[in-house]
Amino acid sequence: MHFFFEWAWLIPIFPLLAFVAITLLPPIGRDRLVSAGVAILALAASTLLAWGVLVAGASQGFGPHVAAGGDGPGAGEGILDFGGAFTRSFRWAPVGTGILEMGYRLDAPVALMLAMVTLASLCIHIFSLGYMAHDEYPRHHQRQSRFFSFIALFTAAMLTMVMADHLLLFFIAWEIMGLCSYLLIGFWYFRQSAYEAAKKAFITTRIGDVGMLLGIVLLYNQAGSLQFGTGEGQIFNPAFLERIRMEPGVLGFSVAAIIAVLLFMGTIGKSAQFPLHVWLPDAMEGPTPVSALIHAATMVAAGVFLVARTYPIFQVSGVLPFVAFVGTFTALFAALIAVAQYDIKRILAYSTLSQLGFMVAALGIGAWLAALFHLLTHAFFKALLFLGSGSVIHGMEAAVGHDPAKAQDIRNMGGLKRYMPTTFWTYLVGYLALAGIFPFAGFWSKDEILLDAWNHATVVWIALTIASFLTAFYMTRQIVVVFFGNFRGHQPLAATPPVEHSEDEGAKVHEPLAYEAHAEAVHGGHGNPHESPPVMTFPLVVLAIFAALSGFANAGLFFGIHWLAHFTGVEAVEPNLMVAGIATLVAAAGIGLAWLIYRPSYKTAQDRDPLAAPLGPLYRAMERKFGFDELYQLTVIRFNYALGAAARWIDERIIDRFVNLTGLGTFFVGRINFLIDDITLNSGADALSESTIAVGDGVRNAQSGKVQDYVAFIFAGAIILAIVYVYAL
């Protein structure tokens, strides 16, 4: 079965070729169906290969397992080494004296990620074919083709990142994903909010990336290589890890700690952890399949994967408690905000933040396998939920028109169970998985995290248990308000789009009216919501199967399945019925409470949220996301502009003024020269004086005439200086 390993490099190449073909070959790019077909076929081929790799790896391993450790006392003790691996590489670019190679590495976590990413991406590609069908602004067929080319490029980058065998290639793919994310969030760039969101996402993640880049630079500086692996000269080499663990950096931290913190900044940006979380909810301005693919299943999980991939460095760094803190805080904080949101996609976005927090927290407490497990199951059920919400929005547009502010507001929905049954049932599966109900996927993976927390970090366990309660609560609220009760969309809430503040005056842009009118024409605007076409519901069903069953990869409790632990070579954790019991009780409590509160509420779209009155100011704070957007607006962004303005002031008022003064000074010297001329050479010809005046005027106007004199003067001075130097010293 080495066939799959040898040809695995084609996995990212297929979607990359699809991107190139759609972009560069007009016959393909001109037609949306052809370009979608090319992208889907390419991805299907990748999916087959990726699953082939997984099956081959599971049945016969990835290669000899090189035991870590050996040299150095105590080195490699308890450090993760990812089991056996299969690697291939070729020369790409020399950096200075060392040569960097481009290559791929297949091991257990990589194979799992490849299988997940290809499958999720394939489902989302197919879904997009239906979802994007009505996007015809600005009346160019090419725009939809471009959509497919972008998500194909994104998938290629994500797969490259997963397979990369060294950190630089990892980073390159990481950045290209960021670029695709930017392009796709801003896909409807003529909407100001979309463009602003794209810009915000790009810049916010880039702040994290700067840290990551510096971490890579420092790591390269220390190791002389960026290659993953435990061999000599590779970054997980036990002797090397031991060295950076002992070597003092600055402020009493070891070099390993500094590298780990810098790399973790990349995670904070990409996986939208507190305090760089602000971009992800806004990223929902992008088309919904994009939210599902990039901002739920794959790219945002890349930050988690980064820590998982470089875990040995984190293990020796001593910063894992910090990682755990950031993750736990984000899990709890985002879940609180999700309770008070009304936009169906934003609720899911905050839920994603919270779940990513779970994964990061798991990594922080040493539960590497649990984090990876939750990453995989979460990708399936969150992609499912997002696509489900896309289906809901698509159906809602028939009732309220093509206006995101109306079509995405859960207060305008209600009773959709009747109108879109397939969407409802698949959504329900995703919901149960996310809430952590036995035996859906989320139950198993979340239980793993809670179990490890219970065993090693009680504080984290308490916080995550509260977050689980909130998860069940806000998801039940969403399900009840969206799918139960009466349909309220015929008298929708008057849309009040949030006012975005832009620093640039003159940048305020409204949606082109033609676009709205066009959308109205397509979507009648006042019918009933309808079920989506099969091309959209089919991917929902596929994902629902995985959301329901993928947890059985590691179902320790009752079933005694430890396949995932065995596959990745990590020791399985003893299942604990009590932890699972508490988790289930908490989830049930959240569901029950939300059902009791929300089932009787929302008779009309204009009703207040039932929690608003009892919680008072707390609810308002949650509604406003605790004000972090405003805070950053007031501090970081203002500060930056102020800095720029101050720098410009220095340039114009001080440096330039000084320059101009020098010019005036030269002019003044010219005047004195002229006076000397005038007095001492008084008898000289008038012509001379007049020409000097002319030169003076020339200086005043063009101020260039003196330059040559100046040079000549300095030249003479230089010669004198040099002569003095040579002969006198």
């Binding site: 200075g96 950045e175 463009y195 880049l213 720029g644 320059v659 106007n701 063009a702 040559q708």
Partner: protein, 514 residues
């Protein structure tokens, strides 16, 4: 590959290097004698001549041999040597290695695309092209000269036409811009002359031959400490080093498009190239003494320039200040004095040259010449009107912000590795410029290309001509090519700087022994 086969067997006995500037000079002379009304002929002559010179630089690239020890073991190839004024120790000596060959190729690309972009010049077409070709003759000459005197002659030839080109064909306070630029460059060259003359006498060899001086010149430590600084700073003024940078944005803004391209794309590189070739090569101990201080100043360039770029209201000023920021990275990379940093500097010079050429082609020719404004409040929505220009600008912008897959990333990554090796703290502070760069590029992209079309007249703007599209696409393609397959440039750059790095390290050891 036919071109490669041809290049491998480049006939001997042809002065290939000199042909580049001889061709552009000849074209200038031809245009001079053409009748005034034959504008179309002048354009063709200029374009064909610059295309030929580009072709020669590319031939030289393909026939460059990485394993050749080169002229006197210094890695210099294609060397030509003629006595010129032997009694003064002046000779015509030119050669190319991994440092200046990328610069020659860069010059070729910029003048070729610049000629294509200048097709619309109607006012005094003859003088314009003559001056443009003279300017580029000087630039080619500077990049290949290995004799200090020759270097300086070409240097002056490059600076003077610039003054006239901006003063006559420029816009927006053109006289002021031209004056300021010339004043600064002259002040810079004055400082260089001092050091140059000092080197001539101080070596005791009475020669301007840089190879001789590098091999046998015995400059005392005190001499180097005294004269390294004027030489380096004199050139650094041209590279836009803080606080001698204000000429550059003003000059960029005032200059006509092709001149902005040459100016930001090539002329600023003359400064950093001179600083590397003349100052650091000849006086390595001086470099070891002074460059750590210079490195601190370049932080201002990098971060300060980027912040100013963010608050501009004029499209060209943004690009101008972004050049200040990027060229600051080059000088910072020079200050690392290690292989990886210096090759990063060479790569950044190349990448920034192509990128900024592309920027000015878009901003000056495609946007300004059509809309007649560069003020952000008046622009907007141009992506609908000229999508091709928007794509070109975004490609340049991505390279500018160091996005992997574009040439800028390869350069910046090398630079950051190199800087970290020597000045970790500076690397951290300089890295702040990365998100700021992303911020201003995206801001400008939005304000100019996206959003609503501000002015209904924009919908009737003349479409881009095929020549303009070709020029822009050519530059964009190079950015992507070098970004995706950097080996084509990195090998050469790393090979080129080894000689200088060896001398710098030797000097460091000498200083340490003391």
């Amino acid at each position: 590959m036919y071109i490669e086969a041809l290049a491998r067997n480049l006939p001997d006995g042809v002065p290939w290097l000199s042909l580049t500037w001889l061709i552009t000079l000849a074209a200038a002379l031809v245009i001079m004698v053409l009748p005034r009304q034959k504008k179309e002929a002048m354009r063709w002559v200029a374009t064909i001549a610059s295309g030929l010179s580009l072709l020669i630089t590319l031939l030289l690239y393909f026939s460059y041999n990485l394993n050749d020890p080169g002229y006197r073991g210094l890695g210099l190839q294609f060397v030509e040597r003629l006595p010129w004024m032997p009694q003064l120790g002046i000779s015509y000596l030119v050669g190319a290695d991994g440092i200046n060959l990328p610069m020659l190729i860069l010059t070729g690309f910029i003048i070729f695309t610049g000629s294509l972009i200048s097709w619309n010049i109607e006012e005094r077409t003859k003088e314009y092209f003559v001056l443009l070709l003279l300017l580029v003759t000087g630039v080619y000459g500077v990049f290949m000269a290995l004799d200090l005197f020759l270097f300086f002659v070409f240097y002056e030839l490059a600076v003077l036409p610039m003054y006239l080109l901006i003063g006559v064909w420029g816009s927006t306070r053109k006289e002021y811009g031209a004056m300021k630029l010339t004043l600064y460059l002259m002040a810079g060259s004055a400082a260089v002359i001092i050091a140059m003359v000092a080197v001539y006498f101080g070596s005791g060899m009475r020669t301007f031959d840089m190879v001789e001086l590098a091999l046998f010149g015995r400059f005392t430590r005190e001499f180097q400490a005294l004269f390294f600084l004027p030489m380096f700073l004199g050139f650094a003024v041209l590279a836009g080093m803080f606080p001698f940078h204000t000429w550059s944005p003003t000059g960029h803004v005032a200059a006509p498009t092709a001149v902005s391209m040459l100016h930001a794309g090539v002329l600023m590189k003359l400064g950093s190239y001179g600083a590397l070739r003349a100052a650091m090569w000849l006086m390595p101990e001086g470099a070891q003494l002074w460059l750590p201080w210079i490195a601190i100043i370049t932080v201002a360039n990098v971060v300060y320039g980027a912040t100013i770029a963010m608050v501009q209201r004029d499209f060209k000023f943004v690009i101008g200040y972004s050049s200040v920021s990027h060229m600051g990275l080059v000088v910072m990379a020079l200050a690392t004095m290690n292989t990886i940093g210096l090759s990063g500097a060479v790569l950044q010079m190349f990448a920034h040259g192509i990128m900024t050429g592309l920027f000015f082609a878009v901003v000056g020719r495609m946007v300004y010449d059509r809309t007649h404004t560069r003020q952000f409040p008046e622009l907007g929505g141009l992506a609908k009107v000229m999508p091709f220009a928007a794509v070109l600008f975004v490609i340049g912008g991505l390279s500018s912000m160091g996005m992997p897959g574009f040439a800028g990333f390869i350069a910046e990554f090398n630079i950051f590795i190199g800087v970290w090796e020597r000045y970790p703290l500076i690397a951290i502070i300089a890295a702040l410029s990365i998100p700021i760069t992303a911020a201003y590029v995206l801001r400008v992209t939005y304000l100019v290309f996206f959003g609503e079309v501000k002015d209904p007249h924009f919908l009737d703007l003349p479409p881009l001509t095929g020549r303009e599209k070709f020029a822009g696409a050519m530059l964009a393609a190079i950015l992507i090519l070098v970004g995706v397959y950097p080996t084509i440039m990195t090998d050469m750059a790393a090979d080129g700087v080894t000689e200088i790095v060896a001398r710098l390290q030797q000097a460091a050891q000498g200083l340490a022994l003391r």
